[in-house]
């Protein structure tokens, strides 16, 4: 009997809570703001991880200038900006991203949403943003397939969805191929006729797609694939893989990792002193003190110390100060800054004028000037600015942009191969 009563009490409590949530929802007025009320931006991401922490730091940097100026003027009164931290837990459970987005909108009453890293998480946040007519700018690395698909299918519903991602997933492969090709040319210049490439690509959807392509392209470009290794992204120990890799005597190691595998890869490759140039996205380069010397990593301008755009060096230096010298793995600065600039320009929180402004203005992103295409809200960089570069890590922590090899917004440097590697290759 007592058990039944408990069950009934739990059910009644759940119904009551759901009712309260619903009332909260209906009472939510996104476009209205009272005098003195703050403009709330929900920053949604994996907050228990470094990625989420970086998202918060960069978003904070994006809103500071507005708050320092006393806020943004709407209807004759100034409003400060507040960031609401929302944990998406998306690396563990994507469903939590949906719960996070719902909570941000219905409980925290945010006016805008920024964040999301994984395609799957971004897709569910987009649905919730569209349902609630909240403008959402995703910060995933690549433009999600759903982003384009949604806008193509039902523009009126998904017009609230934007992205700061600079490229589609295929562009990632293009950048990696360009980087490895640059390394291969430098290796050939030392007298190696057919550079040997070992591919260490973590098991992931992106990895699966890229590996098939790189294998074909590298072979076509006169390289020899000496082996492919596919550890898990969550691997915490790669001693077996790196030992096998050393045995295969490569000149180039193509690495694509994120997560713990990327971190431990850097440490174990350095310990083994493999005479090979690492290229791609080994992830370890983003951790302080963990970069592999002479490796060439694909990086966005937010992680590069060389002046590329108006904002990148200032952002780079300030971010390092706030992140304990970690390079920015994800950037929510642009998303927060674009939104606030649009609010300032329209002097309103109404979605439609803000969307129109986002679609028509030129935005000063960290990577350089960019515009959104009005149809699919894809980012388009202007004036030779690029979203990613191949950056070589030189001794002493110096960075040199080595790819693209043609001049873009910045002059490229020749790739450096250390003497000990050249000697080792001659003995092979």
């Amino acid at each position: 009997m007592r058990f039944r009563l408990c069950v009934v009490a739990i059910i009644i409590s759940m119904i009551t809570l759901s009712g309260i949530s619903f009332l909260g929802h209906t009472a939510h007025a996104k476009s209205r703001i009272k005098q003195g009320e703050t403009i709330k931006i929900g920053v949604i991401g994996p907050m228990a991880m470094r990625t989420g922490a970086h998202m918060m730091i960069s978003a904070q940097m994006g809103i500071e200038s507005y708050n320092n100026a006393g806020g943004i003027e709407i209807n004759g009164s100034k409003h400060k900006v507040e960031l609401i931290k929302i944990d998406s837990n998306e690396f563990v459970n994507v469903a939590d991203a949906a719960n996070g987005a719902e909570r941000a909108i219905h409980r925290e009453n945010v006016h805008f949403l920024v964040g999301g890293v994984l395609d799957e998480a971004v897709a569910v946040i987009q649905e919730i943003a569209a349902d609630n007519e909240i403008i959402y700018i995703s910060t995933s690395y690549t433009v999600s397939e759903n982003h384009i698909k949604h806008l193509r299918k039902d523009r009126e519903r998904y017009k609230f969805c934007f992205t700061t991602a600079s490229a589609a997933a295929t562009a990632l492969a293009t950048a990696h191929v360009g980087i490895i090709d640059t390394i291969a040319n430098a290796v050939k210049a030392t007298g190696v006729e057919k550079p040997r490439v070992a591919q260490l690509v973590a098991k992931s959807r992106v990895g699966d797609a890229i590996l098939g392509l790189t294998t074909k392209v590298f072979t076509a470009k006169g390289m020899e694939i000496v082996g492919n290794w596919r550890p898990s992204n969550q691997a915490t120990d790669l001693r077996a893989e790196t030992a096998a890799l050393k045995t295969s005597q490569p000149n180039i190691i193509y690495a694509l990792f994120s997560g713990s595998a990327g971190l431990v890869f850097g440490k174990q490759v350095k310990e083994l002193e493999i005479p090979a140039i690492v290229g791609g996205s080994p992830a370890s380069s983003l951790f302080p003190g963990q970069g592999i010397e002479y490796s060439v990593t694909m990086m966005g301008p937010q992680s590069i110390a060389t002046k590329i755009s108006e904002n990148n060096v200032q952002f780079y230096n300030e971010f390092l100060k706030r992140s304990n010298n970690e390079l920015c793995v994800i950037n929510a600065y642009d998303a927060a800054a674009f939104l606030l600039k649009a609010v300032q320009l329209t002097a309103s929180l109404e979605a439609d004028p803000i969307i129109k402004t986002l679609e028509t203005e030129t935005w000063s992103a960290i990577a350089g000037d960019m515009k959104y295409d009005a149809k699919y809200h894809k980012t388009k960089f202007q004036n030779n600015f690029r979203p990613v570069y191949g950056v070589q890590k030189l001794p002493g922590g110096k960075q040199a942009i080595v790819w693209p090899t043609k001049k873009t917004a910045v002059e490229p440097h020749p790739l450096v191969i250390p003497e000990w590697m050249k000697k080792s290759w001659k003995k092979m």
Binding site: T236, A240, L263
Partner: protein
């Protein structure tokens, strides 16, 4: 190739053996399947990192301090969370899993998602033609010493004999005046202490990650079931079999490296189908 498998599998085998020995010991005496066991291992690695890297404490002081902290935490959970539900194995499993998740979340809340611990000693050498670091040898030596210490404790000391007596027949042991409550506390401290030592010594070799305990829990379960629940000898031998199998998978099927755990599980299922009690199973109905 064989040298690679031997050298890399050896250390992994030692680590698994150390964890499995502690887990088996706890199971054979306390008769509980403590799923938080590898979480204690993970937590000690992070404690060591926190004490050395964040607080600047010397590693020789930080290492025992981390082990003691983790033992005290485990005793707290053992007495206030596990012991009250000891009679229900399902409750023990669920609660111990919850303890593991709590420890994981504590680490996550410190923004320590991916972390590397600096080596205690730098340098490397060739061993059977394989490049290995001095840190690797240090870990190997510590693990072997702890395993020998555990064997000495269980076979040559009064308390060790008492623990073994309880594991063999708790009623007779009780009649002989052995305090079961004390023995369980001692076993918890010793077995978690062993896991904590493993956590501290391997921390410079791994990338630390709050969920790392889950993948090791899976391997550990495979080791103890495969070796025979409650058999320390079986667990230690199986630990090496599994470690060498995992390493072989990575080295012989490079593109299937991510399948290393799956291959081990398939191997375990095959063995259990032939011998359901595991290789050295001693567990009988009570």
């Amino acid at each position: 190739m064989i040298a690679n498998i031997f050298v890399i599998g050896l250390l992994n085998g030692c680590i698994y053996a150390l964890l499995a020995a502690g887990f088996s010991l706890m199971f054979s005496v306390a008769r509980i399947v403590n799923l938080a066991f590898t979480a204690y291992w993970m937590f000690s690695a992070y404690c060591y990192y926190g004490l050395t890297s964040s607080m600047g404490i010397h590693p020789l002081i930080a290492a025992p301090a981390a082990v003691i902290v983790v033992i005290l935490i485990s005793l707290f959970f053992q007495f206030f969370v596990i012991n009250p539900v000891k009679g229900s194995s399902m409750s023990v499993m669920i609660l111990s899993l919850a303890i593991g998740l709590i420890l994981q979340k504590i680490v996550s809340l410190q923004n320590l998602s991916y972390t590397l611990v600096p080596n205690l000693i730098e340098g490397k050498m060739e061993w059977f033609g394989v490049t290995v670091t001095y840190q690797y040898f240090l870990c190997l030596v510590v693990v072997v010493v702890v395993l020998l210490g555990l064997w000495f404790f269980l076979s040559k000391t009064r308390y060790g004999v008492a623990i073994r007596a309880i594991s063999e027949d708790r009623q007779v042991a009780g009649l002989m005046g052995i305090d079961e409550r004390f023995a369980i506390a001692l076993v918890t401290a010793v077995s978690v202490g062993v896991a904590a030592i493993a956590g501290v010594v391997v921390s410079p070799l791994y990338a630390l990650e709050p969920t790392m305990w889950m993948s090791h829990l899976l391997v550990l379960m495979a080791v103890v079931i495969f070796g025979g629940m409650g058999s320390m000898k079986g667990s230690i031998i199986t630990a090496f079999i599994i470690a060498f199998t995992e390493t072989s998978v990575v080295l012989l099927i490079p593109t299937g490296g991510f399948l290393r755990s799956a291959v081990v599980m398939a191997f375990m299922i095959a063995v259990l189908m032939i011998k359901p009690t595991g290789l050295f199973g001693t567990l009988t109905e009570e």
